[in-house]
Symmetry: C2
């Protein structure tokens, strides 16, 4: 069976696109999610062209072999994990930027282009591609589309879905589908483009994307505000958003995260703080906006507000935020990262609730958050060698999602469902929505070959 | 059959929600599109509650009766036209604004709320709901969602789809579906919310919507620029967008439209101009942005550039643009309005092509356009009493869509497909996309009862 598959694939692919060495294949088995089982692929394919992808899908359909599409495998939900005997379809070699057009304000690119590469290329033309997940130096455009990735930019600029105008997609049976448009507007038929965004490779293989760009904004200026409690910081966030100002980022690090970052990088962040708020503006007069936001923070009980002197100092403050995850990973041997997004007004309840869950399970849970969006990333730190602690970690991870749903939130703001949150999707959506989503899946992938077992 | 339907409906509805008088029903037969057949409804229902809508759909499913959902019937594609023996389901009485939340920056409203009513209500709270179709004083939120409506705001603020976060939808069988979220972000499962936006009532009945709001921007300031040719005006538009500035509106009226507006409203617009460009900014320093844009227009060959002295004068300039359609309707006895959206860079070719088509068919075709989006509205004026002229009007209308597709555009930027452009949808999307869209339709409406015969 496996030999038949490999020879059928080889019949239409250059030799160097096929990986069959078990050790090399093992490195394609999983993304960065904990607690997500990964199978052993039958073969890993690294196509360079749309025609090669079509050959892979035609072959997979003919032989009824599951296909797991992959980008950079920086995902945090297990959506890119292999299943036994599957074809791992890595799009990383399809990484060309095909077009950057300042008049149409669009870029056209292949799925394997790295987010940071695309972002820098458009920046050289005076343009801006906002989505900036923490993994932006590694993650690919295709992966960002598959997961519906977000980042620090979202409070002002929105998520990946807002920027995807059109797609070329290879369907399960190898047919090529073109969705959407290159024009600024268009409502011809159902919005299949947005259906693919966040579908985690279960509906088709994105082989080309037209993305919207914005003019490059002025460099942002940031401030940091210290709070004695998560509740006070959360209140400040609500007052900022209520004030009608829109920061280019509005991030929160809790005390646990602050101390972890200091321990790793000696950044001299205030050890005693319970919540650190980072706000930035890329407006015409960022200093004025920061002054206003600083005043709001003080009114909300900030113990200290420190505006950055310049862009360089701002970048240093953001560096601390970007190090949060890495720093928390050093607390123990393993981490699980939640992605619960709640209404801004419930952020305080969310943070207090997470603290209570950490206490209940006797675990370190640091929270960093895209606070302006209400999107929290509680990071459960645990020793994977300790069976009981590992069980408590998994339970606390689930209890955090339950807490988020109870606060009117969602189990995932930007990381996706994958394997890790499958059981929770039905709880959030309910049976009717799940039935319809399965129906949609069956329309695009009647044989159920595309990334089977993911999402639902 | 009709008696059975009416008594089954009456069993679960207050008497005053049912309309059976033929004359009154006739007034619910069609929207504002020309050349779109409309049938005779069996009954018109005007529900006030979700439960009443569910009763209507349960009854329609039980008796296999088609249902045509309607808002204000200001649509321009025939999507709201009745089919013989159908239930016309008018959502106009479900017009409550349920919530406006400045912290979450959302509003929650029923589908029958008029766009302008919602916009004014949020403005009173210092917030902004951008979508502003020309019919905004009449059209409803539900209709805007169904058609994926746009407006003058789109060049800076995007279309309706960008603002719909979550929906309550009554399915064909009467089940209630909740999609999306009230949070700023969320990627739990497929994006069914965006699937409903622009689906023209063919997938379900929207009974509640959560829409995103923005902080109210400063009042906009406008300028008008005159050009000797459409090509020069189009070039100016490309240079403006290329310059990295984003106007809050960027509209174009061709010479025919300008003269029609003068004829109706004696606005003293320059009779000799071939293209009038309107640009506005709602930035911190609109005067500076207008000065820069004025310079770009002059460099592109503007014969005159007149900035508005104040917001009142700006409003007067926009008034001229808003009158365009009404003015062109007075040229003859009937009009057909195209909605072709092309890449900005092809706008000049589009306008020249439309002029050639007008000449070829010996018709008056005035063009007003959301030029910053490349979204043109060529208005074919004709005498409906003249059979030959009517035939030429229809042919020119179609030829304009063909022209747009040839320029890499779409047949509809914001009006939708309805009945008027059905034959053209397949030409734009191709057989694979149409097959998939039909598949999606069958998942939500297996009996094909929801707005049958529309879109495809």
């Amino acid at each position: 069976m496996r030999d038949e598959l490999i020879s059928a694939l080889a019949a239409g692919l250059p030799e160097d696109t096929l990986v069959t060495d078990p050790d090399v294949m093992a490195s394609y088995a999983r993304d960065m999610a904990s607690f997500s089982p990964a199978g052993a692929p039958a073969v890993v394919v690294l196509p360079r062209t749309v025609e090669q992808v079509r050959h892979v899908m035609r072959t997979a359909t003919a032989l009824r072999v599951p296909v797991v599409p992959q980008g950079a495998r920086t995902g945090l939900s297990g959506a890119a994990n292999a299943v036994d005997g599957c074809v791992v379809l890595s799009l990383t070699r399809m990484d060309r930027i095909l077009e950057i057009d300042p008049v149409e304000r669009i870029a056209v690119a292949e799925p394997g282009v790295v987010n940071a590469v695309l972002s820098r290329a458009v920046a050289e033309r005076g343009l801006y591609y906002p989505p900036d997940p923490s993994s932006w130096e590694q993650c690919t455009l295709g992966g960002n589309i598959g997961t519906g990735a977000g980042g620090l930019c979202c409070v002002k600029y929105g998520v990946t879905a807002e920027y995807v105008l059109g797609l070329d997609v290879v369907l399960a049976d190898g047919r090529l589908l073109r969705t959407g448009r290159r024009t600024a507007k268009g409502v011809a038929g159902y919005d299949l483009t947005r259906l693919f965004v966040g579908s985690e490779g279960t509906l088709g293989i994105v082989v080309k994307a037209v993305v919207a760009l914005r003019p490059a904004p002025p460099r942002q200026l940031a401030l940091v505000a210290e709070f004695g409690s998560a509740a006070a910081a959360s209140d400040a966030i609500c007052r900022i958003m209520e004030s009608g100002r829109t920061p280019s980022l509005l991030e929160l690090m809790d005390g646990t995260t602050v101390r972890a970052v200091n321990a790793m990088a000696r950044m001299g962040l205030p050890e005693s703080t319970e919540a650190l708020l980072l706000a930035a503006f890329d407006t015409a007069d960022p200093a004025a906006d920061l002054a206003a936001v600083g005043a709001v923070c003080e009114a909300a009980g900030a113990t200290e507000v420190v505006p950055a002197a310049d862009a360089a100092e701002s970048e240093m403050l953001l560096q601390a935020r970007r190090l949060s995850l890495t720093a928390l990973e050093r607390v123990s041997t393993a981490t699980m990262i939640d992605d619960v997004c709640v209404p801004r007004g419930r952020l305080g309840d969310m943070l207090d609730g997470v603290a209570a869950i950490a206490k209940k399970y006797d675990l370190t849970i640091g929270v960093c958050a895209h606070a302006g969006d209400g999107n929290t990333h509680p990071v459960v730190c645990f020793d994977a060698r300790d069976e009981d602690e590992t069980r408590r970690a998994r339970e606390s991870f689930d209890e955090i999602m339950e807490l988020g749903l109870g606060l009117g939130g969602t189990i995932t703001g930007e990381h996706g469902v994958g394997l890790l949150k499958k059981d929770w999707l039905a709880r959030e959506l309910g049976p009717t929505a799940v039935e319809l989503q399965r129906g949609v899946k069956a329309v695009f992938d009647p044989l159920g070959l595309l990334n089977p077992g993911k999402v639902f």
